[in-house]
C-alpha cells in the first residue's frame, strides 16, 4: 500500500517567497504542497486535509481586500483546530508574534535568509510532536483496554467466589 503523503498549504502573496519555500520543502520532505496567494482560497480547500499550514502575515499585496494572516489564522483555528499553523512574516515586531501565538499559531518565523531552515526545523519538531501525541493516544487506549480487562477479571472472580460460597452453602445444607 502506498504511504500517504502529508499535505502542506503555503499561503503567501509573494510568488518569489512561495516558490523558494516550495522548492526548499520539496527537496527536504516527502510532501504534497498546495500554494495559495490568499487565505480565503486556502479556507475553501480545507477538505484536502492539510496537516500543516505556513501562513504569511501580510496577504494584501495582490488582492487589497484579502484578509490578513491573523484573521485567517483565527478562521482556520475555528474550523480546524487540529491543523498546525506556522506564521511567516516580514515583521519582526514582538507584539505581532505574541498576537499570532495567542491565536493558536505553533510558531512565528520572520522572513529572512534563515527562515527556510527554521521552518524545516519546526516541521521536524511538529512531526516529532505528532508522533509523540499519536503514541500517547495509543498508550492511553491500551491502558483503557487493560483496565477494562482487569475490571472484568475482578468482577468475574468476585462472582465466581460468591457462586462458590453459595454452592458450598447449598452443599452444606
Amino acid at each position: 500500500m502506498a504511504k500517504m503523503q502529508k499535505i502542506v498549504f503555503l499561503i503567501d502573496d509573494d510568488p518569489m517567497q512561495t516558490q523558494m519555500l516550495h522548492d526548499y520543502l520539496d527537496d527536504k520532505f516527502e510532501l504534497v504542497l498546495h500554494t495559495y496567494s490568499t487565505g480565503e482560497e486556502a479556507l475553501e480547500n480545507l477538505h484536502l486535509n492539510p496537516e500543516l499550514i505556513i501562513l504569511d502575515y501580510h496577504l494584501m499585496s495582490v488582492n487589497k481586500s484579502a484578509e490578513d494572516g491573523v484573521a485567517i489564522l483565527k478562521a482556520l483555528k475555528e474550523k480546524r483546530p487540529e491543523i498546525q499553523v506556522v506564521m511567516l512574516s516580514g515583521q519582526d515586531k514582538i507584539q505581532i508574534a505574541v498576537e499570532c501565538m495567542k491565536h493558536g499559531a505553533y510558531d512565528y518565523v520572520v522572513k529572512s535568509e534563515s527562515a527556510f531552515m527554521r521552518i524545516e526545523n519546526i516541521m521536524n519538531n511538529i512531526g516529532e510532536h505528532m508522533r509523540t501525541t499519536h503514541l500517547l493516544k495509543m498508550y492511553k487506549r491500551g491502558l483503557t483496554i487493560a483496565l477494562i480487562a482487569i475490571g472484568v477479571i475482578i468482577i468475574g472472580a468476585v462472582i465466581a467466589v460468591k457462586m462458590g460460597i453459595a454452592t458450598a452453602n447449598f452443599v452444606v445444607f
Partner: protein, 113 residues
C-alpha cells in the same frame, strides 16, 4: 555592486536553473513594485507604498541587497505610521536607485550563468 548572490547560490546548492528562476522572478517583481511605489507617491497612497516596500524587503534580502534594508524599513514605518512623510521622497528616490542598479547587475549576471 549592490547585489550579492552568496545566499542564493548556497540556498540552491549551485543549481543554476533555480538561481536563474529566482533572479528572473525578482526582476519581474521589483519592476512592478517600483511602479506601485511611484504611483503611490503621486496619489499619496501610503498604504500601497508600505505594502510594496514590505514585499521588496524580503526579495532584496534574498538577492543580497543589504544596502536597501534600512531604507525599506524606514519607508514601511513612515507610511504605516503616517509620520515623517516629508522624508519619503528622498527615501523612495534612494530605494529606486538601489533597486534599478540591482536590476541592471542581475540582468548582466543572467547570461553568464
Amino acid at each position: 555592486m549592490v547585489t550579492n548572490l552568496t545566499f542564493l547560490n548556497e540556498f540552491t546548492r549551485g543549481d543554476v536553473s533555480k538561481v536563474k528562476k529566482y533572479i528572473q522572478m525578482y526582476l519581474d517583481m521589483a519592476a512592478q513594485k517600483l511602479q506601485v511605489i511611484e504611483e503611490g507617491m503621486q496619489k499619496k497612497d501610503y498604504e500601497s507604498i508600505k505594502v510594496a516596500a514590505h514585499t521588496l524587503k524580503s526579495q532584496t534580502k534574498y538577492m543580497g541587497i543589504s544596502v536597501a534594508e534600512e531604507t525599506i524599513i524606514r519607508i514601511e514605518r513612515y507610511c504605516g505610521e503616517q509620520t515623517q512623510l516629508h522624508e519619503l521622497p528622498a527615501l523612495v528616490e534612494e530605494l529606486t536607485k538601489i533597486v534599478l542598479q540591482s536590476m541592471d547587475e542581475l540582468k548582466g549576471v543572467l547570461p553568464t550563468l
